[in-house]
Amino acid sequence: MELIVEILVSFFLVIAGIFGLVGSFGMIKLKDTMQRLHAPTKATTLGIGGVLIASMLYFSLVKGAFSFHELLITLFLFLTAAITANFIAKTYMVRNVTRDELPETGRRIGWSIFDDPPETPPSKE
């Protein structure tokens, strides 16, 4: 039993380490900024997820103290990763893409990176 728990925790730790390294290696390997946006998602989901699962298993099965802290961190990171990626992509666009290169939005309001938000919401038109 002891050996099975150790193998399980070690498995998740190795998976987490490999994916964390892959996520950071992608930062120097990929050529373009928008491509590089893809790499750290591996470190966020599988890297951190593996570390947290290993930590949960270790503390509940070896130390005998079960806790939900790790799930909170996972939930928070999963929620914020999308917002962070969206903001970084917008930052890249506002500095490197001109208004002519983008297609029309087909609505009253243009692209959010160039136009101010409208006074009234679009549904009230």
Binding site: E6, I7, V9, S10, L13, V14, A16, G17, I18, G20, L21, G23, S24, F25, M27, I28, T33, R36, L37, A39, P40, A43, T44, G47, I48, V51, L52, A54, S55, Y58, F59, K63, A65, S67, H69, E70, L72, I73, F76, L77, T80, I83, T84, F87, I88, A89, K90, T91, Y92, V94, R95, N96, I113
Partner: protein, 89 residues
């Protein structure tokens, strides 16, 4: 066996931090630097939790949680500053 794999995982995330530092140094765009800083925060969270397992204490979860929140807020604040020239309008 757990301690050997802990050392392996810590080494992986430590090398990841160095690779992110290289990307922060090289750039070339500001978005790359913000992205590399955000990835550094992710790596530091993983390192903190690994150190918590290594020490056998649960005290580092709070630190990891706080760093996750501060990292998210700082990334969004930096991006908003570049986007709008102001953080809270």
């Amino acid at each position: 066996m757990i301690y050997a794999t802990l050392a392996f995982a810590m080494g992986c995330f430590g090398i990841g931090l160095l690779l992110n530092l290289w990307r922060i140094m090289r750039g070339p765009d500001l978005a790359d630097r913000i992205l590399a800083l955000d990835t550094m925060v992710i790596n530091v969270i993983a390192l903190l939790i690994l150190y918590g397992i290594y020490g056998g204490t649960a005290i580092y979860y709070e630190a990891a949680m706080l760093i996750a929140m501060v990292g998210f807020v700082s990334t969004v604040a930096y991006c908003r500053f570049v986007l709008r020239g102001d953080i809270i309008e």
